[in-house]
């Protein structure tokens, strides 16, 4: 999924682990009395155990209302129709898939109590018996099958249908059992039936009873999560209310009110005046303003996003490896991270981000592994020598289209433009709305392009399977790579799969169809007496209100 809304990137190697409810209750009571926030000790009805939710801590305070500010507007709440990252943050509170990522990015049960892979192409899911919709009606196997059909339909779910293109059949194989069969083996499929990706279980009777398309104010979401949508005004706000039907038990926040505040200065003022408690995906250019807003803490963590250059290898002069290499050598990637991102990012050495493999290799092991993929110095002399060997030794003129919502990418290309000017390479930079930028990806009219991609799954091959597959934006074909990616698709051992994937990326990036620039971070601002427990790139992709806890 591409991060079309609330785009941001930024980084800090800072690990911000929020404290669990500690002995600060009395102080909090005093501090919050004026704002009408009520803190009470509650005991959850049930403890979900090892689930997407992570369970409710026994001393977690009750919050009457959490007021959130989003940096962009939502037009539709159903991610099949509009799949920006902010849509996922809302839907993760209301709807569920069969599985979900926990805060560390491990797949854990959601509506399925358990699942197993009975053959390389067969997955069997067993529904949990206590799963209910927000009105108390039990979830049936038919509901799940109907929801898969919906998510697979190009017209109803244009954004997610392709995730299901490898599904051969979905059938009920028991009262509580569903079997999904694939056309060909694909290890990454496990992430498909997940609310952070491509499945939101709803009921056919709800869809049939509502006129208009699902996700609009006329047909709000109907799901099995801990909240239901009570009000949605596109381009204005969405309001959620806690339900007591969730199998995962009690969540501490009773009501979530999300306002769409597209002007960042206004959002900062809204935080200063106490109108919002939490601002998700703040602009990395304005981290300092947020930090000095008073009574506000900024949390920063890698967000599994990737920014890099795409060359269309079918378009001259980018069909020439020497041209691609000359441009790649002229990229001061460390400079981009230090100067343009203000250190909020990390030089990318591969398409895979460290957070997609650190569960297996650890943080430093993951970086060391990915460093094997591409060792690219910033060296203008070498760049000149490469260009001299090319078909355009004296340089050429080209253009690049950049989304106006990606100012840092624009700055990086401005810098690259200046670096390349002495070599005779002239880059015309055209800023455009994000929708027009889509058209530049893989287009023959745009030999030079860029990609800003946020991975939604924890699958380390998510971006590679697009970038190295058919219809990739670089028009890049390499039979050895295709064979290698086929192995990646079927290898089930995580460590062995990472090895295969790294080999595939080494093989491809030797030809430089893509030049990784940086891995991004996301920043979130929260009132300083609260924090987000275990803040990271997966924190907001499963019922996240229970991770809002008092700061230590």
């Amino acid at each position: 999924m591409n991060d079309r809304r609330g785009e941001s990137g930024g980084v800090s190697r800072r690990t911000l682990i929020g404290g669990a409810a500690a002995g600060t209750l009395a102080a909090l009571l005093g501090a919050d009395a004026a704002r009408g926030v009520r803190w009470v000790r509650t005991t959850p009805a049930t403890t979900p155990g090892t689930t997407a939710t992570g369970g409710s801590a026994p001393d977690r305070p009750e919050i009457d209302e959490l007021r959130v500010g989003f940096a962009a507007s939502l037009a539709n709440l159903y991610p099949g129709k509009e799949a920006g990252i902010l849509n996922y943050y809302v839907v993760s509170l209301v709807s569920e898939g069969l599985v979900a990522p926990d805060a560390d990015g491990n797949l854990v049960p959601a509506l399925a109590a358990s699942w197993s892979k009975t053959s390389p192409t067969t997955y069997v899911y067993t529904l949990r018996p206590d799963a209910r919709f927000s009105d108390g009606v039990a979830v049936t196997v038919d509901d799940v099958l109907y929801s898969i059909k919906m998510a697979k339909d190009d017209k109803i779910s244009p954004n997610t249908a392709y995730y299901w293109s490898n599904l051969a059949s979905a059938e009920a194989t028991g009262d509580h059992q569903i079997t999904l069969t694939l056309s060909s083996p694909d290890v990454a499929f496990e992430w498909g039936p997940c609310a952070s990706n491509a499945l939101w279980v709803t009921a056919q009777r709800f869809v049939d009873a509502n006129t208009g398309e699902i996700g609009t104010p006329q047909a709000l979401l109907y799901g099995t999560g801990p909240y239901r949508v009570t009000k949605f005004e596109p381009d204005s706000m969405v309001e959620l209310e806690r339900v007591d039907t969730w199998w995962g038990g009690h969540v501490p926040v009773k009501k979530v009110h999300i306002d769409f505040i597209t002007e960042e200065s206004t959002r900062i003022l809204a935080r200063q005046s106490g109108d919002i408690d939490l601002a998700i995906n703040i602009s990395l250019d304005q981290v300092q303003e947020w930090q000095s807003a008073g009574d506000t803490t900024v949390l920063i963590a890698p967000d599994r996003s990737y920014v890099g250059i795409d060359f269309n290898t079918a378009v001259a002069p980018f069909d020439d490896i020497h041209v691609r290499r000359a441009i790649a050598l002229a990229c001061d990637r460390q400079g981009f991270v230090t100067s343009l991102l203000g250190g909020h990012g990390e030089v990318a050495t591969a398409l895979t981000t460290p957070e997609q493999i650190d569960k297996v290799l650890g943080a430093s092991g993951a970086r060391a592994k990915l460093a094997e993929v591409l060792d690219l110095p910033f060296d203008l002399d070498q760049a000149k020598a490469e260009l001299a060997k090319s078909t355009v030794p004296t340089g050429f003129t080209t253009k690049v289209g950049i989304s106006s919502s990606a100012p840092q990418v624009s700055q990086a290309f401005q810098s690259l433009k200046q670096t390349l000017a002495p070599l005779g390479i002239v880059i015309e930079i055209q800023e455009m709305p994000v929708e027009q930028w889509f058209d530049t990806i893989g287009s023959k009219d745009w030999g030079l392009a860029y990609m800003m991609y946020s991975n939604t799954t924890g699958d380390p091959a998510e971006l590679a399977s697009w970038f190295f597959g058919d219809g990739n934006p670089a028009s890049y074909a390499n039979p050895a790579l295709t064979a290698q990616m086929a192995k990646v698709k079927t290898e089930t051992d995580p460590a062995a799969r990472i090895d295969l994937l790294v080999e595939a990326q080494k093989l491809a990036l030797a030809d430089l169809p893509y030049v990784p620039l940086w891995w991004g971070v996301a920043a979130t601002a929260i009132r300083s007496d609260w924090t987000v427990d275990h803040f990271g790139s997966y924190s907001l992709l499963s019922p996240w209100t229970q991770r809002i806890v008092p700061a230590r």
């Binding site: 999924m1 591409n2 079309r4 507007s73 037009a75 539709n76 129709k81 509009e82 799949a83 190009d154 017209k155 244009p158 954004n159 249908a161 392709y162 293109s165 208009g212 398309e213 699902i214 996700g215 609009t216 104010p217 006329q218 005004e233 596109p234 381009d235 204005s236 706000m237 306002d259 769409f260 505040i261 597209t262 002007e263 200065s265 206004t266 959002r267 003022l269 809204a270 200063q272 005046s273 109108d275 709305p433 994000v434 929708e435 027009q436 930028w437 889509f438 058209d439 990806i441 893989g442 697009w466 219809g471 990739n472 934006p473």
Partner: protein, 326 residues
């Protein structure tokens, strides 16, 4: 007899203008549809996201919205729907265009209306006063203020008001549209700062126009003549104001049209759910039904306001009336 013929003339004038307005709207809808067609981008591709969609998926989505049909057929589908009262569904959100627009139009009308009232009650009296005391300290001070008002960017004025009156003094809300409704006090409360933001820029213009119009009338021979005949200053003022009224009323008509179509910066700064920002995002998405509906509506408001201004001029000024009748 004369009154009846005048009334008949005015009705005829309005009927002709309304017919012309309808023709104009039809032309506008066709031109906008054509321009959207020519702009780069494909709404089906936008819906499917940046990943290269399968040809089958692209074809299915394009067929769903008739995007695979020739231009004139697409326009035919759209205009056929409009004539039967159906403005279609937004391609981006799937919401019915009429439902999506209802709230937003209400907000924009309220915002433009409030800004208009603020402009009229502040700028017109100030303009008259400045003209009558032309060259005085008061005139120079207000005129200098107006230069600042015209020059100040809406965005910056909005943020300043937000900071001082919203965040520091806490007199007004910082963002949001409030509870919807024509009579919702909460809604009007939320609109005070944005309306003030718009009124500061546009009010400065109206002030200048009013001042110039009144000043021009004050220098006319009939004023000197009236005074020499010993008419009271009050009677002279009435004469001047009536004559200065036509250019001021014309400018106020333009102001309302401008406000209705120009609220986008205030909407973005104050996170308001109006038609301005909606139009902008719909244009970039190529959400054809929404763009068509908003441009048509805006064109209709502009045309009808212009008509209202002309009717006022016809009724108020016998010279204009004679010309219009002939």
């Amino acid at each position: 007899m004369a009154a009846s013929s005048t009334r008949h003339g005015v009705v005829h004038f309005i009927a002709v203008r309304l017919a012309a307005t309808l023709a104009l709207l039809l032309a506008v809808s066709f031109v906008v549809f054509g321009l959207l067609h020519l702009t780069p981008g494909d709404p089906a591709r936008n819906l499917l996201g940046p990943r290269a969609p399968s040809p089958a998926a692209l074809a299915a989505v394009r067929a769903q919205y008739h995007l695979d049909r020739p231009f004139l057929i697409q326009y035919g589908y759209w205009i056929g729907g409009v004539l039967s009262g159906d403005f279609g569904h937004s391609i981006r959100s799937g919401e019915a265009v009429t439902a999506a627009l209802a709230d937003r139009v209400q907000l924009t009308v309220q915002l433009a209306g409030l800004a208009f009232v603020m402009t009229v009650i502040s700028a017109v009296p100030l303009g008259v006063m400045a003209a009558r005391r032309a060259g005085s300290v008061v005139d120079r001070t207000v005129s200098a203020g107006a230069v600042v008002g015209v020059g100040a960017p809406t965005y910056a004025v909005g943020l300043l008001l937000l900071y001082w009156l919203g965040q520091r003094l806490r007199w007004f809300p910082v963002f949001g549209s409030g509870r919807p409704g024509w009579w919702s006090a909460d809604r009007w409360w939320h609109l005070v700062l944005p309306a003030m933001t718009l009124a500061i820029g546009i009010g400065a213009l109206v002030f200048k126009l009013t001042r110039t119009a009144v000043l021009a009338e004050l220098h006319q021979d009939y004023v000197t003549f009236a005074r020499s005949r010993g008419l009271s200053e009050r009677a002279v003022r009435a004469l001047v104001l009536r004559n200065a009224f036509i250019p001021v009323a014309t400018s106020l008509g333009l102001v309302f049209s401008f406000l209705f179509g120009g609220t986008i910066l205030a909407e973005v700064t104050f996170s308001l759910k109006g038609i301005g920002a909606y139009l902008a995002s719909s244009v970039t998405f190529k959400d054809i039904p929404v763009v068509q509906a908003i441009t048509l509506l805006t064109a209709a408001v502009i045309a009808l306001t212009a008509l209202a201004v002309d009717v006022v001029a016809v009724v108020a000024d016998p010279r204009v009336r004679r010309r219009a009748m002939s």
